[in-house]
Structure formats: C-alpha cells, structure tokens
C-alpha cells in the first residue's frame, strides 16, 4: 500500500458510502419507470468508465474498443441463458472469464503498438465481432422470460431492484479502483503512462503490468455488459459492440477526469441523465436536437475543463487554498531516514562494469563504435564529448534501451548485453534521463516509490527505501509535496532519488546538471560527492567541464562514437585531440602558440 493511503481510503470510502446511500434513497422514491431505467444505467456506465479508466486512464494507452469486452459479457449472458438455461449470475461470471481471455488474446499482439496505432487497433476488435455476430445470426438475442425466483434469474418486476444490483456492482468496481489507485499496482501503471522508458529503467516490466491492467479492465467491462443484457432483455451487435459503446466508456471518464477513481463516477452521473432527459424531453419534438445539445454541452465543458471536471475543480480548490505548506509526515519516525550508508558496498574484485567492443549503428551512422572501458567499484567516471558523440546512445545500449549490434558488457562479472531494460535494472543499474519526467500531481515520495517498486521491493521496505533515498538527496522534508511544485533542481534531485531507491550498484547519470545555475550545480555536486563517499559507483555524462573536473576520478572522451581518450581529468583536457574534437582545429592552433 502507498504511504498515506489508509486515511485517504477511509475518507474516500466514507464519501462514497454517503453517495451510495443518497442514490439508493432517491431511486427508492422514483416511480416513473423511464427515470428508474436512467438511474439503473448511471451505475452501469460508471462501471464501464471505471473499467476504461483502470486501463487507459492509468496506463495512458487509449482504447477505442472497450465495447469488445462489454459485448462479449452481454452475449455470454444472453446465449448461456438461451442455450443452457443458465442463471445470469453464472452467465456474468462466465462472461467475466471470457472478458479476461479476450484481454489476453487482444493484449498479446497489440501491446507492441504505441500511441495512436494502439488506439486504432483496439477500435477494430469490437467491429470484427460486430460483423461476426451478425453473420452468426445473433442480430437480436432476447432473454427468455422466467416467472419464478426473480433474484436467481435476475428478472425483477420492480425496476428499483435493478438499480440496487447495478449500484452493488458499482460498489465492487469502486472498491477495486480504490485498491488499485492506492497500491503498487496503480503507481506502477502511472509510471508507465508517464514514461515507459523511465519506468522500465526503474525495473518495471511494462508489458506484464499492462496485461494485468487490461485483464482486470476486461473483466469489469464484461460484467457491466452482462448486467446490461439483463436490464434491456435484448442484445444486438450494434448496441453492445458498436463504436458508440466504446465512445461512451471513454466519454464518461474524460468528462469526469482521467486517472482518478472519481472521474467515471462524475462523468456518468452527469452525462447519462443529461442524454436520457434530453432524449425524452426534446427528442419527440425535434428528432436530433438532443444530440446537438449533448454535443454542445460536452464541447463546452471540455473547453472549460480540458482535463475533466474532477481535476479542474480540484486544482482550482487547491489554488484558492493557497500553496500547501510542507506537511510534517506523522506516520513514520523521521529517524528512519538518517541511516548513513547507501548500498551494500559492491563485493567485487575487479571492475564493476566492463565494456568490450560495444557498437551500435543507426543505418550508416555508427553512433557507438567499438567502445571499451572499465569502471572500478566506488569510482566516478565522467563521459565527455561533443554533441552527437554517442554518449546517450552508449547509456541506452548499456541499460538495455537499445540492443547492441556487437560487443559485450558485464556488471560485476554478470553479462548485461542482450538483457531487457527492467532486468538490467534489477541487476543493479540505476539511470536518470536527460529530460526529467515526473508525476506532477503525485507526492514526491510516491514519485520515488516507483523506483523502489521497480527494484522488487514491496510494502514498508519499499517506503523505507524511498524515504532513505529522499533523505540522501536532502528532500525528505518535502516528501509530501506534489512534484509539480519542485524547481528544476528539485526535479533533478528527485530523479536521482528515484534511481537510488532501487538500491543500484551502478548509477548512470545523463546530464544531471543540465540547465542548473552555478549554486544549484554546486548543491548537486555535493550530493554526488556524498554518494561517492558512501561507496556508490557512478558513470556520468556531462557538458559542464568545470563541474566534471571537480567530480570525476577519470574521463572517457567520446567522439564520433569512438573512444578518443581515457585517463585522469587533467591529462585528458590537455590532450590535443580532445581539444580539437571539442573546439576545432583553429583553437588547437591558438592553444599551442
């Protein structure tokens, strides 16, 4: 569980329980069957929204095809009832299994795709099923009437009972949603959404987590579809697999707010009644006017609240309250963080990192060309070179972002070339990126926790590791602040902490000092110096020469992908070929005169 989750869950659960009680009370009073149906549909679409949000909202891969799960759930209930006289309760359960299976089947090929490609591939799945079900002769499957035992057959004469069942399903879905958001699961998914590369570099197997999220999402959507079939009593391919069903799922979430448990709830509670009321009140007078009004309404709200109602209101409320004061964290003694030692000092004889003949080409460009060097335990190696020398590419190959064309590398004798990103991270290679990515709305501690989770730590051990890492970079007193309030320096330190939280043996730092002022730069150097004193091994890419001269024990100079020079900083910077590579021949001539 994430730190501070318990009070948050308690508060949210209380609010939610009050809303549920209020909702049930209202639906108990409504006698008009049309409005009662509306009250039943709100929780169904809220559940559908929760399903969409659990996947797309947290992972950030937009799905245009959630109708595939919804439709499979609905058809499973309708067909099992028709074929085998099975109670819809069993039908919904089987539908959930079908939904999970569909998620695995869909996810396996589709997760290779990114961005829009993924979204549009998802669009195709329900449409294929739509036509297949039409072809199979299921244009209109109705649920046979059952007179006895309404609860067993889910066929109530009182429409209020359906509302109660639907709200029951919503409660379960909300509970799952709360659990996900406040756990390692949710935090990991958010890390993937933010920056998949950085998440993998923190040891997270993105593909596996995405698959888990899609399966969970598919199960929930199939359940919603199953209940939907029981309420409408007729299932048609267009109604359950249609493009509008997928659109509805994402509309309620985007309208309410993405990536929060409340978003789908807010969206469904406003949009479904709005659409239905417009349909009932205006649809008879001028057919089509309800759609126009609905369209105008959602456009207006999105222009005013582009991130959804929840986030816009919350941000406004927080702004009105003024900036949050740094809250002292009460649930954990601060002393836990002052532990002096970083990592277990590397118990290796010989080099910690050994690189031999590493090469990487992009087309004709040899970005890294036959590079060999070694890093001794506890040393700081600076990698310098002009722009385009292949420094970042070298890092990318070393920590598994890119596969090497040839050559090998070992970490403490263990080969790391050919391994995947997250596996290399688990072996003990931590990394920061040139461009810092953070979760602006999450607390600093949550941001750093992702690194700890990635390294395989769980529960209190992960929180302890994250706090220790924050203490190490001097940010512990700001742990509860949202990362969005940090300065550039703060963000750099936070990213350093995120890498440290995984307890790496080797740190790869990519331009950690970029864009910092002189004093900020000094502060960061101090932190890095402390890390060295505690036995951390660091390889750092940097442009600021004066900083590198103070920090690094040794330099490796890259130019056009090749190692140009290697050795103690002073000798390297006086090397003629290095000066030439950096400043050109003219300067070299000047220097020598």
């Amino acid at each position: 569980m994430r730190p501070g989750a318990l009070p948050r869950i308690r508060r949210d659960a209380l609010i939610f329980a009050a809303l549920v009680a209020l909702y049930l009370a209202v639906s108990g009073v409504v006698t008009n069957s049309y409005y009662q149906l509306m009250l039943t549909l709100v929780p169904i679409w809220a559940v559908m929204g929760i399903s969409w949000n659990l996947f797309s909202g947290y992972v950030g891969l937009t799905s245009f095809g959630h109708a595939v799960f919804f439709g499979l759930g609905a058809y499973t209930v309708a067909l099992t009832l028709n074929w085998w006289d099975l109670s819809p309760w069993f039908g919904i359960a089987i539908g959930a299994v079908v939904g999970a299976a569909a998620a695995v089947f869909i996810g396996m090929p589709t997760f290779r795709l990114r961005g829009h490609y993924f979204a549009l591939a998802m669009l195709a799945f329900p449409l294929v099923l739509l036509y297949v079900f039409q072809y199979l002769g299921y244009q209109e499957v109705s649920l046979p009437m059952k007179r006895q035992d309404p609860f067993f057959w889910l066929q109530f004469t009182d429409p209020r009972a359906f509302t109660a069942v639907a709200v029951g399903m919503l409660v379960v879905a909300m509970a799952i949603s709360f659990a996900v958001e406040n756990s390692r699961f949710g935090l990991t998914l958010m890390a993937i959404r933010q920056n998949e590369l950085a998440a993998e570099a923190s040891g997270i197997d993105a593909r596996r987590w995405k698959m888990r999220a899609l399966v969970l999402s598919g199960v929930i959507a199939a359940t919603a579809g199953g209940l939907y079939a029981c309420i409408l009593l007729v299932v048609t391919p267009e109604a359950v697999f249609g493009i509008l069903t997928s659109a509805q799922a994402l509309t309620v979430v985007l309208f309410g707010g993405v990536g929060t448990v409340w978003g789908p709830l807010i969206g469904a509670a406003i949009l479904i009644p709005l659409a239905e009321t417009l349909h009932a009140e205006l649809g008879n007078i001028v057919p089509g006017i309800q759609g126009v009004v609905y369209g105008v309404a959602i456009i207006l709200v999105m222009l005013l609240a582009p991130e959804g109602i929840f986030w816009t209101l919350r941000d406004r409320w927080l702004r009105d309250r003024g900036p949050a004061a740094p809250v002292p964290r009460g649930d954990r003694p601060a002393s836990a963080a002052v532990a002096p030692l970083v990592t277990a000092p590397p118990q290796v004889s010989g080099p910690l990192l050994r690189v031999e003949g590493l090469s990487k080409s992009f087309g004709g460009l040899r970005a890294v060309d036959d590079v060999s060097f070694e890093v001794k335990p506890g040393e700081i190696l600076g990698i310098i070179g002009p722009n385009g020398a292949g420094k970042t590419t070298l890092f990318n190959v070393l920590n598994g972002v890119l596969p090497a064309d040839s050559g090998r590398a070992w970490l403490a004798g263990e080969p790391i070339t050919g391994r995947k990103l997250h596996a290399i991270c688990r072996l003990g290679v931590g990394r920061t990126f040139q461009v810092v990515r953070s979760f602006p709305r999450l607390a600093l501690l949550d941001n750093v926790l992702i690194g700890a989770y990635g390294a395989g730590l769980t529960g209190d051990a992960a929180v302890a590791a994250a706090e220790e890492a924050l203490a190490r970079v001097g940010l512990l007193d700001q742990a509860a602040q949202p990362a969005g309030q940090l300065t550039n320096k703060g963000l750099r330190l936070m990213e350093l902490a995120r890498a440290l939280a995984g307890r790496p043996r080797l740190l790869l730092l990519d331009e950690t000092l970029a864009g910092l002022g002189r004093e900020e730069c000094d502060e960061l150097l101090e932190v890095l110096g402390r890390l060295r004193a505690e036995g951390m091994t660091i390889v750092i890419i940097e442009h600021t020469m004066h900083a590198m001269l103070r920090l690094a024990d040794r330099f490796v100079v890259l130019d056009h992908g090749k190692v140009l020079a290697e050795g103690a900083p002073r000798t390297v910077v006086e090397d003629r070929s290095v000066i030439e590579a950096y400043l050109g021949k003219k300067w070299l001539a000047r220097c020598s005169t």
Partner: protein, 318 residues
C-alpha cells in the same frame, strides 16, 4: 468453362476494388492531413464526409444549381464544389473549437492533449450527425446520374471474360486521383505546403522559424475537411446516404491512414486503395456480412505485423 467465370469474377472485383479504392484513398488523404499531420484524432471526419455528400446533393439535385451541366457532369462538379464549402466549415470548426484543444497549446501537456481532442471531436460528430438529421431529414438521399447504371465493357480476349467498368465509379476514381495529385503538388511545390509540413514535423521549431503554426494547422484542418468532403460527394454518386453515413466511413478512413503509415500523404491514398481492394476481393469468397469483418482482420494483421504501416518509413516516435 468454370475458370473463365472465375477469372471474370476476379477481374471485375479487381476493377471495382480499384475504382472504389481510389475514392477511399481520397477520403483517407483528407484524414491524413488532420490525423497524420496534426496528430488530432478527429472523430468527426466521417461526418465531414457526410456534409460533402449533402453539399453535392443540394447543389445537384435538391436546388439544382448545377442542373445546367446535365446529369452526366453535374454530380462530379457538385462533388468537387463540396470541397470549398466544407473547407469553410472545417476552417470555422478549427477556429472556434479544435484550436483550443490542439496545436502549440497542448504540445507540452501530458498525453499532448489527446484526451481533450477525443471528447471535443466526438461532440462535433454528434452535432453534425444530429444537426444533419434536423436540417436534411432521415430520408436516404442519392445524387442520381445515368452513368451509375451504365458501364464500359472491356474484352479481355480470354474466352468470353469481360470486365464491366461502371462509368460513375470510373469517373469518380479519376476525379479522386486528380484531387490527390493537385494536393500533392500544393504540399510539395508551394511555400504554403512547406509551412504545413514544417508545422507538422515539429510545431515548436516551426514557430522559431517564423511560421504561424496556428494558421498552418487551421489550413491543414480545413484542407483535410474539404478533401474528405470531395470524397463524400463522389460517394454520393453511387450510394444512397443518410446523416449517419459517417459512422460507416470513419473507421475505413482510420484503417486506411494507419495502413498507409501515418503522416504520409501518398501512403494514406495507397492505404485507402488497399481497403477498397480487400473489400471487393473478399466479396468473392465471403458472405456479405463478413466483408467488413475482413477489412478489419486485414487491418489488424497489417498493423500488428508492420506497425509503421505498409508504406510508411518508420514507426511512431516512442
């Protein structure tokens, strides 16, 4: 002879695939200007197509403004004229709505503002569909031309096998190719085209180069709308339609653009052509209900096996 009949069927399916494919290709090119270049997922693209079909219908049949051209020429003149009309609609839509959730404003935000664009274009789609229902009515319409029921016959010389080329579709296909060529010239050879491509490639950098990115995006959006509308006008010459026709085509358009590789104009055309091909060829072996399923199965296969698209150069940047 069995195989002669088979051959005749295959050749005719190929011919129909090429002509319909050209029209699909044209609508895909329109979408690729918006989706491929601006990276805006426009759910309303199918409805812009619908507007094009109705524009042609009113110009040619209902008001008869173009009736003087005769029933052979008027439908195609109407389709071409639908372009500038819907260009204006696209311009206004971008000016008032789409610009607020896309372009430079959202480049820096998480998800690049895609979520907001989804909802907003979905709202536009709803307004256009239902507004169309109010204005145009739910009665299926068609732009009639005698050409759609006559064909050129081409003897293959192999037995009795003859290819029937529906005149309306052939002319539509040629018109589609003409428009694509004109657009290609515009983008590759003019200053405006250069600005559009720069704004597409890197909006921030384009700004530094003195390009008015907002204006470039507006032109791209309006052009994309107009091009797709021309395709809609051409569709109207052989198919009857209602205000909800967009739903059937929007998916075909996205499939075509992705197949061709996003951001590539000619790729989008080939993508649309491929879709037309698959649709017509599958008619030979599959029952009619499964023809559309076949399109999406082929689409999924290609996307999964070759994510950069059939004709694209490289995959989307990570």
């Amino acid at each position: 002879m069995e195989w002669e009949i088979l051959l005749e069927n295959v050749l005719n399916a190929l011919a129909a695939g090429i002509t319909i494919g050209c029209i699909y290709g044209l609508m895909c090119v329109g979408l690729s200007l918006i989706f491929g270049i601006m990276r805006v997922v426009n759910f309303a693209q199918g409805d812009l197509l619908m507007l094009g079909a109705y524009a042609a219908f009113y110009l040619v049949a209902a008001w008869g403004v173009l009736a003087f051209l005769g029933p052979e020429v008027a439908p195609f003149a109407g389709a071409i004229l639908a372009g500038p009309i819907v260009f204006a609609v696209g311009w206004l839509l971008h000016r008032w709505i789409v610009a607020r959730v896309s372009g430079l404003r959202t480049v820096a935000s998480l998800d690049e503002g895609h979520f907001g664009q989804l909802i907003v274009t979905l709202g536009i789609a709803l307004i256009l569909q239902n507004g169309g229902l109010i204005l145009f009515g739910s009665m299926p319409r068609a732009v009639r031309t005698p050409l759609s029921s006559s064909a050129w016959m081409v003897e293959t010389g192999i037995g009795d096998a003859t290819i029937f080329l529906n005149k309306a579709r052939v002319i539509s296909g040629l018109a589609a190719i003409l428009v694509v060529v004109a657009l290609y010239w515009l983008l590759e050879r003019t200053r405006l085209g250069k600005a559009l491509r720069a704004a597409a490639d890197n909006p921030t950098a384009a700004t530094y180069m003195g390009i008015d990115v907002d204006r470039a995006h507006r032109i791209a959006f309006a052009l994309g709308s107009g091009i797709t509308a021309v395709a809609g006008g051409l569709v109207a010459s052989y198919l009857s339609f209602t205000p909800f026709m967009g739903l059937d085509f929007v998916v075909i358009m996205y499939a075509g653009v992705v197949l061709g590789g996003m951001g590539s104009l000619l790729g989008a055309f080939w993508g649309g052509l491929t879709i037309g091909f698959v649709q017509q060829i599958s008619a030979l072996v599959l029952p009619p209900q499964l023809q559309n399923a076949a399109i999406f199965v082929v689409f999924l296969l290609i996307v999964v096996l070759r994510p950069q698209g059939l004709f694209g150069r490289s995959a989307e940047r990570a």
